[in-house]
Symmetry: C2
Subunit: 352 residues, 2 copies
């Protein structure tokens, strides 16, 4: 434990100050200075280096988020994954200088209770393993791709795999994992440039831009013999198109529904779910946290793939906490390729 | 094999002569006399005693039946399960007098190819096992209830079970099987009389009539602590209400969607499927034929339950092939309790 008087008394955080209507706007957020309380027994203080931005955080900005995690309160920093260095510890298992992965979200410093339900984790950072990988290829978002494909969708030999949001943080890894396992992979994305990226860099057999026509026509054109697995990051018309294209005993991993996150009114429902009956389809929803028991296996496997160079993990880096809101809005507009992360204090911009 | 000249040359069948708009009308069907071809090698001739009526047959009366079994052709007898006596056989394994269960549907006599994809089955009929049970508690409809509950929904200790169409052919058995396994069971039905029946005769803990209010209010009132399994025979608002009421890791057996079968236009979609993600729900569609490998186990278990008197199998019997269309319409209007079957030629009405 370090002496309390060496700790900063104030920190900076990005707060949610208004519930967005549709696509969030910059003034739904505010960068504020806030007091940093002294740690109590069982707590650590972390100076964040990297913060994860995730589309699912948009869901929790609604006043109600039925069936999902509870809404974010107003005038507080949204929670979410972040990683930094321990600068004070009153908790067993953490020492000053340790890298700590935690869920306290959009703030420069966080006082983290190590006894909470989702406690912080001490992780190994070294020359081969940069800290930001714990938000990226070794993090929860990548675990989502991994268990969604292997555990939830139960990938089997010969499956044809369709992934929406294929250039995004979750989808880009799904494409590569499925290709590495020898599958035919079709991706959908939001621009022609992303489609090229998904084909050329990530190795997908087919990729289409969903803005080019009805997904119900683009998907069967890309997968004329149908699909067996659909990894759903989008919902809506993508899910309906997949339900038509799925072959008997097909499986859907219901991961996200970004098409509805910014909706301001009622969203059209899924009108053709009855396909599931006639074709014996399985649709399974999941959050990565439900598969926390797979984290060690997943990290071991991913480290090996990263070391072998068989996986690339695209990132879009937002430089500086003050740019977090703009980055979050960009992500929800489809502006990112790969996982979007915030570098809390860009190098060379050290505080005085 | 019996001499061909002893066989009837003509039979009677109920044909689909128009594609129903909404609830079928009597003149969508026609009872006609038709030539009965002589059996060829590999074929048997069956004189039907009982014909099964199933809500799913309505789906196949639409011009297109996306993702389900192919549409019924016009001016032919719809196919479906029936049982009768073999009156001629040119096939190994069948002798005159055998009871044969087959899929040739709405006809008095059927020439059945024993080499077809879904071949007829010779079944044992005796004093304890009336032929109609092979359309009822030992038949495909009951197999639907059985595997839907145990295999598809994966019933587990402590699960609270919700069943729609709880007084119907499939639902009435689901209620009893779940109660026999010690579960809390909630049923929804279409009338107060059926609700009383489901509670008092079938043993459900709660039953409500869905016409009494929004299902989204009636279900949580009947299951204030939520449900774990939903056996869906109805779709639509029932499925949406269940998605709200399901607890984490809940499971849905997608069996039927009778609420949409008579729809004449676009049906509102399922607007809250995203519940599946946050709660880790599994929705699995199925047809009984996908679980044919369970038939022997199922029949053994059901025979034991029937012998022990622990299961009752309600039936609504339609007297005479000529009344089949009226019975079918009645079933789709919710007029039946339990499984609806047609007695092809009522006793005492033997043909001259």
């Amino acid at each position: 434990m370090s002496p309390a008087d060496a700790l900063p008394r104030r920190t900076r955080e990005v707060r949610l100050v208004a519930r967005p209507r549709g696509l969030p706007r910059p003034d739904d957020f505010a960068l504020v200075e806030a007091p940093l309380p002294a740690p109590r027994d069982g707590e650590i203080v972390v100076h964040n280096e990297w913060i994860s931005l995730d589309p699912s955080q948009r869901i929790r900005m609604h006043e109600a988020s039925t069936g999902y995690m509870p809404p974010f309160p107003l005038d507080r920093a949204p929670t979410g994954w972040a990683i930094g260095r321990v600068i004070a510890s009153r908790a067993a298992g953490f020492e000053v200088g340790d890298a700590a992965l935690h869920a306290m979200g959009w703030t420069e410093h966080a006082v983290v209770d190590t006894t909470m339900e989702r406690p912080p984790a001490r992780v190994e950072v070294d020359a081969e393993t940069p800290a930001r990988w714990y938000l990226g290829p070794l993090g929860w978002s990548a675990l989502t791709s991994y268990v969604g494909l292997f555990d939830v969708a139960g990938l089997r030999d010969g499956d044809v795999v369709f992934v929406s949001g294929a250039a995004g943080g979750v989808g880009s890894l799904v494409v590569q994992l499925a290709k590495a396992a020898g599958h035919r992979v079709i991706g959908s994305v939001g621009s022609a440039a992303k489609a090229a990226y998904v084909r050329e860099e990530l190795g997908a057999d087919e990729a289409f831009c969903y803005r080019d026509g009805p997904v119900g026509e683009l998907l069967p054109a890309a997968a004329p013999d149908g699909i067996d697995v659909y990894f759903d990051n989008v919902g809506g018309d993508h899910l309906e198109a997949a339900l038509e294209a799925l072959r008997p005993h097909g499986r859907v991993a219901l991961c996200g529904a970004i098409s509805s996150y910014n909706a301001t009114g009622a969203v059209p429902g899924i009108a053709n779910l009855f396909n599931a009956t006639g074709k014996g389809l399985t649709l399974r929803g999941f959050l990565a946290r439900m598969y926390e028991h797979r984290m060690d296996d997943f990290r071991r496997d991913m480290r090996a793939r990263l070391a072998a160079g068989t996986i690339s993990y695209p990132e879009t880096v937002v430089a500086g906490l003050e740019r977090l809101p703009a980055g979050f809005i960009e992500m929800l507009s489809g502006g990112n390729v790969g996982k979007m992360i915030v570098r809390v204090r860009p190098e060379g911009e050290r505080a005085a």
